[in-house]
Amino acid sequence: MGITTISFILLSLMAVASSVMMITSKSPVNSILWLIVVFFAISGHYILLNAQFLAIVNIIVYAGAIMVLFLFVVMLMNLNAESEPAKNHRLQFIGVISGGSLLLVLLSAFMTVKNDHPVMLAGGNAGLIKTLGKVLFTDYVLPFEISSVLFLSAMVGAVVIGKKD
């Protein structure tokens, strides 16, 4: 029961708990905040897994940029607990049941696997910015360029949709 194990358990509990809070909390603002907590937990996991770059990017891009954007939109529309539309409890119940059973089915598929896939923790240089950078601009240059098309289209889209006319 090393430190890593304990931190793994703690981070996992944190992630799960706060994501549950995220989907249950009435007000959108709270949900967003809870989601940010989840992201922090996941970043913690990244660090455990020695993927510092992703950990940082996760914080910056997700928690930083995206979530703020969300928050911004929510504020813009000044949504709050009152504006939350009325729930349909039957549908929710069924939803929880089916989602849960999906989880069970999937887990049951893996619990049969025996323990021979250890994960290397706190070691190796795969996650280092240096390595990633080299790989990204050599092997992955094509997807990298292509992703620019993605951004272009997203940009154009945002303009087309968002522009008032």
Partner: protein, 466 residues
């Protein structure tokens, strides 16, 4: 390669045309020019003119796999897009202000199509699919004043994002289960006997995600609403080109990665195929709006295309090409006529045979093709699919099921034909000035293409063996 680059570049070009060219009518000519260039460039890469292969040489690190099969598919796609532009470009202008941007988005979609047609790693599959989808979310919602359009784009977006999550989960598991730790689709080590649990799970996730993209039941629910809500001119595009691209990605992934162990997942495909045929055909029967009926019919046709995934043999590949061509041309043609109508219900077609015989004739040919009547491309494509499926031993009953549903499909396609010829027109549902001579000519050419492919399919299939 040519296709990806040029489509991307031309997308940017169109984007700027939106900024610099004030006239609303000019961009379409630019777009038509672009698609022509795309087609020719692609043909050069396919060496269709026997000038020797001409292409941008970029080291893709094997991330793209370019062969005559992919390229002939792209050729079909670009030809259909050209047809689409010639028929409907004028209607794109009517959607809204940002004509240039619309065309730009269409070209980005084509870029995505080119990627999924040639991808060799799961990463590019993922990127390609996203590049295909994101512009479509926009195009769906491009009619901003129209609440239906808004609703459609929201639904499409949410469910699309959801399916993206599933796709990624699938990729993750496949990666995890692949001892080679690689994303290359032809470098997935399945081992002997039953697949490792992770691969199995990942595979199911992939099937689900791709079924969603090609709107196969039970993951088709977005299709009718989105196709119905989107501006008709874009529905025409996404229900043809994008859908067949999805199928192409589907087939390529499964024959390169999992073809060897087909026996272990074919049941899923059978399940999906039968369900798709059932839901698509049965639900289409009762539709009153032609647009929505076509949406359901596209699901029904998807059921037939699933047979290619089911068979995964030469016949299936040929069938897929034929089906892409036949289905796309016919559907684009019908939509092109539909756009001209004020009233999208079946009654809207009443008496078209009298008021506008040529349009009626062409529409009839398209509908017959979708039904799968001999002498039309639709028959040949269905026929090839059935042949392909028949070669899979022990599942012949699936073919009989398929043809029975094909017979049912006659029911809703012929309702339109009956309306056109055997009912009297209430009021003129189509204003003449809308229907230009050039439009009629192009439509006639499309109809002729349908017949030509129906008589001699080899010249579509032939490319693949070029």
């Amino acid at each position: 390669m040519n296709a990806i680059l040029l489509s991307g570049i031309w997308g940017v070009l169109m984007m700027f045309s939106g900024v610099f060219i004030k006239s609303k009518t000019t961009p379409k000519y630019l777009a038509i020019l672009g698609i022509l260039i795309l087609f020719i460039a692609n043909a050069c890469e396919l060496d269709a003119f026997n000038l020797g292969v001409m292409q941008f040489s970029i080291d893709t690190k094997e991330m793209l796999n370019i062969n005559s099969f992919n390229l002939s598919f792209l050729a079909i796609v670009f030809a259909c897009t050209l047809l689409y532009f010639l028929l409907s470009a004028r209607d794109v202008e009517k959607v809204g202000e940002h004509v240039g941007e619309y065309f730009a988005l269409i070209f980005f979609v084509l870029c995505g199509v080119s990627i999924v047609a040639t991808y060799n790693t799961l990463l590019l599959l993922f990127l390609g699919i996203e590049i295909m989808s994101i512009p479509l979310y926009i195009l769906t919602g491009s009619d901003k004043r129209n609440l239906k359009s808004n609703e459609a784009s929201l639904k499409y977006f949410l469910m699309g994002a959801f399916s993206t999550g599933i796709l990624l989960m699938g990729i993750a598991f496949i990666y995890g289960g692949n001892p080679n730790g690689s994303f290359f689709i032809n470098n997935i080590q399945l081992g002997e006997g039953p697949m490792p649990a992770m691969i199995a799970v990942g595979l199911v996730f992939m099937i689900i995600a791709l079924s969603f993209k090609v709107s196969a039941a039970p993951f088709h629910f977005w299709t009718p609403d989105v196709y119905d809500g989107a501006p008709t001119v874009f529905t025409s595009f996404m229900s043809t080109i994008v859908k067949v691209a999805g199928f192409f990605a589907f087939v390529r992934l499964f024959e390169n990665s999992f073809g060897r162990v087909q026996g272990q997942w074919i049941n899923l495909i059978v399940f999906i195929t039968v369900l798709t045929l059932f839901i698509g055909n049965i639900t289409a029967v009762f539709q009153q709006s032609v647009k929505r009926m076509l949406a359901y019919s596209s699901i029904a046709q998807a059921g037939f295309m699933m047979l290619a995934v089911f068979a995964l043999n030469d016949r299936a590949r040929e069938g897929l090409l034929l089906y892409s061509a036949a289905y796309s041309i016919a559907t684009i043609g019908i939509f092109a006529v539909l756009i001209k109508m004020k009233d999208y219900t079946i009654e809207g077609f009443n008496g078209l045979g009298k008021t506008n015989p040529l349009l009626a004739l062409c529409t009839t040919i398209f509908l017959l093709s979708l039904t799968g009547i001999p002498l039309t491309a639709g028959f040949q494509s269905k026929f090839f699919m059935l042949m392909a499926a028949a070669e899979v031993t022990g599942k012949f009953w699936l073919i009989i099921v398929a043809v029975i549903f094909a017979a049912i499909s006659a029911y809703y396609y012929f309702r339109v034909i009956q309306a056109m010829y055997f009912k009297e027109a209430i009021e003129n549902n189509i204003e003449e000035n809308e229907v230009s001579t050039s439009f009629k000519i192009v439509l006639a050419i499309a109809a002729f293409l349908i017949i030509a492919i129906g008589i001699y399919p080899e010249f579509v299939v032939g490319w693949m063996y070029h």
